[in-house]
């Protein structure tokens, strides 16, 4: 496009309402910030003679995108996080990982993403660029192309800097049958690593807490970690990434969906010392805190050793552990055997995790 214009003052400028009004300013933001950040994700597509960088209202995906017999999986996720940049990641990375991981939990190889940015008036353009680059880099690393996007701007005070909506398309082999409804008594519960890292990292840097801890978010793309499990067949019943609500809520969801109970061994659950210390201090339950780079696997005992070996051979699954088993229980209770040998119930997260007074 041969429009004469001054380049965006990215180093000093801020998001203005005009950037979302759909006119020249919007086009310029796309052209100078988003397009360069997302272009590398199209490299693979371009080599196949396919163009995505158009200003059409949508993208036409090529026929033959999906291997014969495979089914399409569609997923969407909306991300809000405060602060936008946190130890271990930022909103952009989180958005890509969130959607890509949801596809992976369905057994799907992610193909394409669409991203929607809702920007708050006043957000530094430099931050927008950082977030856009994070999205692009995370998508490249996950091997997905960003094929469509949109931007809107809301007035100052009506957004938390930036909200990010990411939809994703993937394809799943006909043999894969993963679902939260498939857990059955006797199955084994496995988590892929230390829990609560993301929750504590965010809590620690949130305004007003002033709590210093070396904890960094675990946000990560889980596709290569779980892909080997897709091929293990019917015996791998459920894959879930325990994000909001933590492992406790995820297991309660699975228990309710499958009409089963679970019994976990508390001392088998991997928790980083810094996370445990923070939880002790604040009176929080680590099993209720968010994770962004962990997977919960429910599988038949016959493949438990294989699953564990698969996970542990991957850098993201080094600390994988069997943490409990699925039991017959009409009340769908998830219970925890404490190291002392007592039992307690592990509930859904109720409201927001609130610290105790003392």
């Amino acid at each position: 496009m041969s429009v004469r214009r001054r380049p965006l003052p990215i180093a000093t400028g801020r998001v203005e309402l005009a950037h979302g009004a759909g006119g020249l300013a919007t086009w310029q933001l796309v052209d100078e910030v988003f397009a360069p950040a997302f272009a590398p994700t199209w490299a693979h597509w371009s080599s196949q003679g396919f163009t995505t960088a158009t200003l059409d209202d949508g993208v036409v995906l090529p026929a033959g995108l999906v291997p014969p017999g495979h089914r399409l999986v569609q997923s969407t996720d909306v991300h809000v996080v405060s602060p936008l940049f946190f130890p271990g990641g930022d909103l952009g990375v989180l958005g890509v990982h969130g959607t890509v991981n949801d596809l992976a939990m369905m057994g799907a190889t992610p193909l394409t993403l669409t991203v929607g940015f809702i920007l708050e008036e006043g957000l530094p353009l430099l931050d927008v660029q950082r977030l856009a680059r994070s999205v692009g880099e995370a998508a490249c690393a996950a091997g997905v192309a960003i094929v469509a996007g949109d931007t809107k701007v809301v007035e100052r005070g009506k957004g938390d800097g930036c909200f990010l909506a990411v939809s994703g398309l993937g394809h799943v082999a006909p043999t894969v049958q993963l679902s939260a409804r498939r857990a059955r008594p006797g199955d084994v519960v496995i988590v892929s690593g230390t829990i609560g890292d993301h929750g504590v990292a965010i809590l620690a840097c949130r305004e007003g807490l002033r709590f210093e801890t070396p904890t960094v978010s675990d946000t990560a793309c889980l596709v290569s970690l779980v892909a080997p499990l897709w091929d293990l067949g019917d015996d791998v019943r459920v894959l879930r990434d325990p994000t909001r609500g933590g492992v406790g809520t995820t297991l309660n969801e699975i228990a309710a969906a499958s009409s089963v109970g679970m019994v976990l061994r508390e001392d088998a659950i991997p928790i980083a010392p810094a996370v445990q210390a923070a939880c002790e201090l604040l009176g929080l339950e680590p099993l209720s805190l968010a994770n962004e780079g962990k997977v919960v696997v429910i599988c038949a005992p016959a493949v438990a050793t294989t699953v564990l070996a698969c996970l542990r051979s991957h850098p993201l699954g080094r600390d994988a552990a069997v943490v409990g088993e699925v039991v017959d229980d009409a009340t769908c209770t998830v219970a925890l055997r404490t190291p002392l040998g007592g039992m307690r119930v592990l509930d859904w997260l109720m409201g927001d995790p609130l610290p105790r007074i003392c």
Binding site: S179, G208, T331, C332, V345, D347, W348, I357
Partner: protein, 378 residues
Amino acid sequence: MKYVTAFRDPALARTLAAGIALDVRPDRVYRLMEFCGGHTHALARHGVLDLLPDVVRMIHGPGCPVCVLPMGRIAQAIALAKHHDVILATYGDTMRVPTIDGESLLSARAAGADVRMVYSVDDALALARASQNRQVVFLAIGFETTTPPTAVAVKRARDEGLTNFSILCNHVLTPAAMHAILDQPEPVALDGLVGPAHVSTIIGTRPYEVFAERYRLPVVIAGFEPLDLLQAIWMLVRQVNDGRAVVENQFTRAVTADGNPRARAITDEVFERRDSFGWRGLGQIPHSALRLTPAFADFDAERRFSLDDPDVKDHPACRCGPILRGHETPQQCKLFGTACTPDRPLGACMVSTEGACAAAWLHRPRGRGLPVVPGTAA
């Protein structure tokens, strides 16, 4: 030593539990009240109750600061946040406590009130410094443990000349509540008392001597870890067996006979006793709570905003009262696990994880027909 694990050692716990089992007399019951909500939570959280013989019955006491706060005081805080345009700063677990109308500080915030969660009174003070054009009110609650920091904050506010900081004081006193429990018209039958951990670091062990002497009640001050609790319970069982009633200190790594005189001195400088204070479940208890002394009255939100005395009535169907007095167990309340769950609490004992009902919910037996919280089937 790793404090997170050292006092949770499973082998030592089994040894202590075996000792208790060996020493209890099968022909009698040991009714022991843990006063403190921190102990109530620890008993459920670590599954300590499952290690105790049937004859040892733990009765949950009223020492949960959120639970003993009358609904009217929460309503007062909500009204302050809604109608006086203040920033109301509060500890996290008070935010979900419902009033009689089902309102909470969280719902008030959703409706536009400026309610901020803080982790300490220091954060509230920092808010006041940073928001000079707004009034900041700290909802001060808690027993003797949280009172000294509030006192320090009020003194700092005075020294810095901060005119936009005040506190809504609901600080209460442990020994007064213990007297109220033991002096009720229908006293609850008790054989021993597990004394508070953190409170005792401030007040020391001496204030409990009166309970051993006047009520012939064994008292053991205990730490908050499972091994602390098991050892304290064992010490109480032995006192009961020997017919002794003395104050013993299991929590020697933190509690001394004199406590923390400096913390008490600053508390006494800033606060004085109210003539009477309405507790949830326990009713009016004379000299059981604190207010700012005349010298610091400028920092009293009740005065600054001319607040009326709050109504301290409870929800009519809620059994928080008898439960806090030790007369009933959470399971005896008709609302427990049906209309009142941690997800939608009616009574304060279900809101705080230190509350007797929340602890009982956490420790409810698996598969015995208590309702599942409905979720979204995936």
